[in-house]
Symmetry: none
Subunit: 401 residues, 2 copies
Amino acid sequence: MNQIDMMKELHIPSDKKIVLLVLDGLGGLPDARGLTELEAARTPNMDRLCRDSICGLSTPVAPGITPGSGPGHLGLFGYDPVAYQIGRGVLEALGIGMELTPKSLAARGNFCSLDPVTGVITDRRAGRIPTEKCASLVEKLSAIRVEGAETIVRPVKDYRFALILEGEDLEDGLTETDPQRTGLKPLKVEPLRPGAQKAARLLNEWIEKALEALKDDRPANGCTLRGIARDPGLPSYREVYGLTACAIATYPMYKGLSRLVGMEVLDAGDTVASELKTLKASWEDYDFFFFHVKKTDSSGEDGNFDAKVKVIEEVDAILPEILSLKPDVLVITGDHSTPAVLKSHSWHELPVLFHAGHIRKDAVTEFGERACMSGGLGHIRHVDLMPLAMAHADKLTKFGS
Amino acid sequence: MNQIDMMKELHIPSDKKIVLLVLDGLGGLPDARGLTELEAARTPNMDRLCRDSICGLSTPVAPGITPGSGPGHLGLFGYDPVAYQIGRGVLEALGIGMELTPKSLAARGNFCSLDPVTGVITDRRAGRIPTEKCASLVEKLSAIRVEGAETIVRPVKDYRFALILEGEDLEDGLTETDPQRTGLKPLKVEPLRPGAQKAARLLNEWIEKALEALKDDRPANGCTLRGIARDPGLPSYREVYGLTACAIATYPMYKGLSRLVGMEVLDAGDTVASELKTLKASWEDYDFFFFHVKKTDSSGEDGNFDAKVKVIEEVDAILPEILSLKPDVLVITGDHSTPAVLKSHSWHELPVLFHAGHIRKDAVTEFGERACMSGGLGHIRHVDLMPLAMAHADKLTKFGS
């Protein structure tokens, strides 16, 4: 029996409310001044809350593993990110706000350059064409029809686009067409299991028509498809936890990830302030609130230490208003670390502040990476957080007798 | 290779002795005065021993999971409580001191009220009849005979009884007969696998005869069977650890659980003092001693903080006598938390005091939940304790070369 099965079996109703406040990429590393972003930020409200909480450090996937947004959030949502993998095509589509249904098959597309005579790939990224060029090529591709499925194509960024096939019996388990190096022709999509034959046939038909449509373009006279995948069909929050859950997020990727686990995605504007407004307005309607703050991560990716500090301080400033709603359980953490000094996601543990009734308070009086090292939660994993939140919200019954 | 297989392969003999001292429900939460039961208790002997030990916190099953007595103890005994589950019928029977053999099939029984005309259940608990009434009804049921198995019925409490069928080829994998709500007739026992057909047939025959025997009674003119299960056939302590193990416990449930893993259950009276006497008298005969103290849990369940403190102090007072036997390894912990403020089992970690040779002493100088947060053992799981105890008793050889 895995954790998801255990939660399915043990969850019971209670009227308590859980808030999971995720500062994307929260975890940091010290810059030259010796403090991490969170340590450098002035966070009087979080620090005060620490005294009435239990803290610790959490590993998103496994030690040393740097997660993408998908695995980072799946862990926080209580789904083992190694057991439940989301295909790249699905994440690409979710990331630009495309909606998936159980009949969708999604793929990442790359425009590429082909030798007009031999047909071999000469540039796998078509000279990194600009996004506007990508958009105009996608318009051409949007005219393609294949029998047995609807097709939806959208530009992503530079040479990347997303393709969704929508139809009956479109199984995944399909090879990619990018041969991973130049000098080779794009490959055919091959089914890896019998059920995927129809999807392979339709995708190959689509690619053939795409090559025809692109043939006179330069440098993007070809394209490849990667990460072809369906919605992984994750068991929903209602099924696993019995929760009526909502997501308050500003970016398509996180709205999409929340939808994959059956959260209701609320209209939350595009600022922390508008997200707070949404939280307040919807407080009576849900018992679980996923509150996502994006810009800690984007500033970290930009290597902008001070901008990341500012976003943390902005969240600290709204904390009293979140607390005024009296959440029974409030967990503050991130999906993964994005230290500004690394300008990228990293594998480092995340500081966790766990505020609830029936906790054993520890000695942590400041919310920061090093303070949390000696917190009472110890070193946990992201997937441990939901069972703990459920327990502290009186939503789990006894295991065994 | 799971942990049990690893222990089977690596254990070697030594003349060292291990004592596992379990204060049932030891873990607590602070009351209004801000201290947990263990922190509030005057425990000079445990505190002194801490200075010569390594401490930590242990999770019985998994984060957020509140264990029953079965899973809590299986973890302490080194058996993954999720992989090794004990059926409720078995626990009910063990809890009242019934003995199980490999040929036993055990069920929980509930007396219920049936509409005499339609046969539907009108009260699933027969108005919660008193235990004496239950005992007199059980006497009637004891007269029932079925061909192919012996039957043993015993009263438990109120409307609950336990039934054991003893015979050849009685497999479990059987549905329950309680439809879980009133207005429906009791269900038949159905086999969930081919091997369980004989057991289903005998149980249905028994139920038919039981209904006949009860038909003139009011309000208990019916009964249902639940949690029908066999002894799970756990590998024994001798097989897994090479240990000659005994159990010193005062309550049937814990004697029964010990018997499931092949411990010899000693006559230990019904007080901590008589248990101590048993420990001393049997010291030469065994190399593993499971010493169980029940009343920390019962006081916790009663919400009686001060009574729980007293039981802890009572155990502290006998600690010097246990130490005078010079156990090579002494582990003091609990099976699960039972904070008096919750009046129930809980999911919180257990403080662990691990006293043995070849330890690295930590800075903990007081045995308590918060002191153990920063103990040298860190945050471990119950199943980790037996391998550690085995290693410190020189009973495990090297893994790999």
